[in-house]
Structures are given as C-alpha cells and as structure tokens.
C-alpha cells in the first residue's frame, strides 16, 4: 500500500487537488464572501506594489514628457528654439493640469448636482485574468469604502465595489458578466436589467417588454432606475446601440454601449450613500431628469 502511494504520489496529489478545486468552486458559489476574503488577502499584498507602480509610472511619464524631451531640445543649442520649447513644455504641463482639473470636475459634477457624497479614487490596477472585468482603486475601508457602493465617472456608471481592503478596493465593471443593474430607457421609460454582454465592452438590456409604449431606438439613453439601491436614479449607464424587437419571445434584444470609457479610466468617484432624508431622493432624481440633453462628456466644463 505504502509502495503504491509512493509510486503514484504525484498523480494522487493532482487528483486530490482537482477535487479540492471543485469543492472550492462549489463553496465560492454558495458563500460569495469566500472569494472576497481571498481577494482581500491577495490585495493586501499586491495593492502596495500596484500603488508604487502607479506612482513610479506617473513620475516616469512626467519625467519623459517634461525633462527628457527638453534635453533633446537643448541638444540643438539654439537659445531661441530652447526658449520656445520650454514654453511649450510649460504649456503642456498646464494643459495636463487643465485636463486633470476637467476630469476631477467631471467627477465632482455628479456629487454637486445630485447631493451625493463621493470619494475620488485613482485606478491603480486591472484584473489579472482575462475572464473577469474588475479594476483596483487606491481607496479602501480607511476612507469609508465598503462592498456594494456605486462607482461613477462623471455621471457615467463604472461599476460597483466588491472586495475592500484598508487602502484599496476592487470594482466590478458594469461590463462584467456577473454585473446587473436595474435600468430604464430615458425616453420611453421602458425598464430592464443592464447586464454585461457577450460582446467585449458592451451591455445587454434584458427583460424589456415588446409593448408599443416601450419602443426603444438606437441612440436612446439608458439610466439607472435606482431600484437596486446601489446606483442613484438617473446615473447614465449607456446609449442604445442596437435593438432587435423581432426576436422570438416576450422581450426585446437590446445592446447598449456604456457611456464610461472603461479602457481609459484614470479617476473615478465612489458614491457614499447618505442615510435617507425626507424628499432628498426625490430632489436628486428630479435634478438629474431635468437635464435630458446632458451626457457624460457634455457635463465636462468647457464642452
């Protein structure tokens, strides 16, 4: 017996580990806290490195665009040209500040307009696998962030926080297969569930009935209904890209393009919900609905 075990130790261990993996998968589906706990443990080790990398890469970018570039100019040994280049560098820096200012203003717009309090966070990492769509932000429970909070970019929905460590948090993007947001089409008020779609970077609006009053057209804006208690009513999810009402069944087939540019996120706003006060929610909803022409980009000052 011992000889058999010793001879086939590798095979037996592999089988044992495979069985254990399947057990873990079952457990993680039954207890969603388990993967979150694991994510917290790994994040506590990885997020300091991610932050370090973020800072170093930002400094490198800054160095490259402002100093090394100028060294090349100095090599030309023309005082006048050098002066022009210096001014251009200064201008570029100011433009960078301006862009940053615009981005942050865009994030704060939502907070100011709706009265929701939020925390601005920087995106420091993306998911390590190609199967799950998450990002890591540099704010955590020390800043008041907890799982299940809405994350927006301007007024555009980005996703919601899932696992949180003291100084970082994971955000499940709205395009992930596991994401589902209760939504309504702004023009027809047709309701549905915006879920991560099969196409990369697209959403699918499901369970929208084929009734005449619920006609949906490409270009219609899809907003959060607020019913799920996570996303504030009126937060922009995306714009209808394709509608097929001829599919068999009770519901329309609707594809939605998210308004947030999920591949180029740098800063996001995590919304911290306030305890409900009388009429506040209604006021917020009215403020957002009163701006039918606004979208994520047009909210930025200067646009």
């Amino acid at each position: 017996m011992t000889g058999f075990l010793r001879r086939h130790a590798l095979l037996l261990t592999s089988l044992l580990l495979l069985t254990f993996s399947f057990q873990l998968m079952s457990l993680s589906l039954r207890y969603p806290e388990l993967p979150r706990l694991g994510a917290r443990i790994v994040d506590s080790g990885v997020s300091p490195m991610q932050k370090g990398y973020h800072e170093v890469s930002e400094s490198m970018k800054y160095m490259w665009s402002h100093y090394l570039w100028l060294i090349k100019v100095e090599a030309e040994r023309n005082e006048l040209v050098e002066r022009v280049k210096q001014l251009e560098a200064q201008n570029s820096r100011l433009m960078e500040y301006e862009n940053e200012n615009k981005r942050l203003r865009g994030l704060l717009f939502f907070s100011e307009e709706t009265g929701h309090k939020g925390i601005v966070a920087s995106v420091v990492g993306r998911d390590s696998s190609n199967w799950i769509k998450t990002i890591t932000i540099d704010r955590g429970s020390d800043d008041g962030i907890r799982p299940g909070l809405a994350v927006v970019d301007g007024n555009a929905v980005v996703g919601q926080t899932t696992s949180v460590t003291e100084d970082s948090a994971k955000v499940l993007l709205l395009t992930d297969n596991a994401s589902a947001i209760d939504a309504i089409v702004q023009s027809s008020r047709a309701s549905g569930i915006a879920e991560g779609g099969p196409e990369d970077g697209m959403l699918r609006l499901r369970y929208t009935e084929k009734l005449e009053q619920f006609q949906v057209h490409p270009g219609d804006r899809v907003i959060a209904s607020g019913i799920d208690g996570v996303f504030p009513k009126g937060a922009l999810i995306g714009v209808v890209h394709h509608v097929d009402a001829a599919v068999p069944g009770l519901f329309q087939h609707i594809e939605v393009r998210p308004s947030a540019d999920l591949y180029r996120l740098e800063n996001v706003l995590v919304i911290i919900p306030e305890p409900p006060t009388s009429g506040a929610a209604a006021k917020n909803a009215t403020l957002l609905q009163a701006k039918p022409g606004t979208d994520h980009k047009s909210q930025e000052p200067g646009n």
């Binding site: 592999s14 993996s21 399947f22 057990q23 998968m25 993967p35 990885v46 991610q50 696998s129 994971k170």
Partner: protein, 179 residues
C-alpha cells in the same frame, strides 16, 4: 524550506502584480499573456514533485483570489496544465525557445478549455453564453501572447539563484538557456 515558501509567495505576488499592472497596461486588447500559467508550465518542465504540483495549485488559487469572483477554476486548470506538461516533459526537448513556445501555446489552449468546462458545470445558461464569447475572443490571442512571452520569463527565472539550483537538482538542461 521556509526560504523556499517565502520566495514562492513573493514570486506569486509579483506575478499577480505584473499581470494586473504592467501586462494589462501594455497590451490594450481583451487578452493578455498569462504569466502565472507560464510559471506553471516552466515548473512542470523542470520539477515534477508533489511540492511542485501543490505550488502550481497555489499559483492558480492566487489567480482566483486576485479576481475575487470564483475560487477554484484557475487552481484546477493549473493542476491540469501541470499534469499535461508533466506527462510529456521527459519526451520533449524543451531547452529550445521554440519548443517552450509551442508547449505554452498548447497549455494556454488547454487551460482555457478547462476553465470553460468548469464554468459550464457550475454557472447558469446566460452567464455561460456570455462567457462563451469571452472564451472564443481570448482563446487564441492569450495563447499567442503567452507563448511569445514565455522565453523571456524563462530567461528571467534563470537569473534567480534558487531556480537554477532547483533546475540543476531536477537534472534538466536549464543551463542551455543561460549559456
């Protein structure tokens, strides 16, 4: 032993860190090279012990934890990849970069198929339908990127003293890479 565990843990964290920052930041496509899977292949080529298969399992588990969604699929896929490579390791001449690239390419496909098979056992029809598109989109790209990166990872690993020591102990021709 403790030193080896510490080095391994650090390597795992470094792998996840690289995967989540540099690699996904550099490759702006839906698929990116899977460094942790490459590590599993290299370990399986060099060291075929019970400790090594547990190490491969841990690499997969850390990948699962880093995603924070499901625990187990990557761990199982890593064990499958380890077993596949372990089964053929003595019959292939893996000292050439091209051979390693081919093995990594095939292992990446095997890993994706294993992941999809596990998901199809556990997840509901809609989630599976959406994952099916992800699977088709990343299947070849991930394998291609991983196979291109694999020789570089191997060279970097050979710079590390503990890995050279382990490779020498396993009687492999790892030195052919470093020469």
């Amino acid at each position: 032993m403790l030193r080896l565990v510490c080095i391994f843990t650090l390597a795992c964290l470094l792998g996840v860190f690289l995967q989540s920052t540099l690699i996904h930041g550099t490759v702006p496509s839906a698929a990116a090279p899977d460094v942790l899977m490459i590590l599993v292949v290299i370990i399986a080529l060099r060291v075929r012990t019970v400790g090594a298969v547990i190490g491969a399992f841990c690499l997969g588990l850390i990948s699962d934890f880093a995603s924070g969604q499901y625990v187990g699929p990557n761990a199982a896929a890593s064990v499958v990849v380890f077993s596949l490579v372990g089964a053929i390791a003595s019959r292939v001449y893996a000292d050439r970069a091209l051979a390693l690239m081919v093995i990594v390419f095939l292992c990446s496909l095997a890993k994706s198929f294993t992941l999809f098979a596990i998901y199809s056992i556990y997840l509901d029809r809609y989630l599976l339908e959406t994952l099916q598109y992800t699977f088709l989109r990343i299947l070849v790209l991930e394998a291609l990127f991983s196979s291109l990166v694999a020789p570089l990872v191997m060279r970097l690993l050979l710079l590390s003293q503990p890995f050279r020591h382990i490779s020498r102990g396993a009687g492999s021709a790892a030195y052919a890479w470093s020469e």
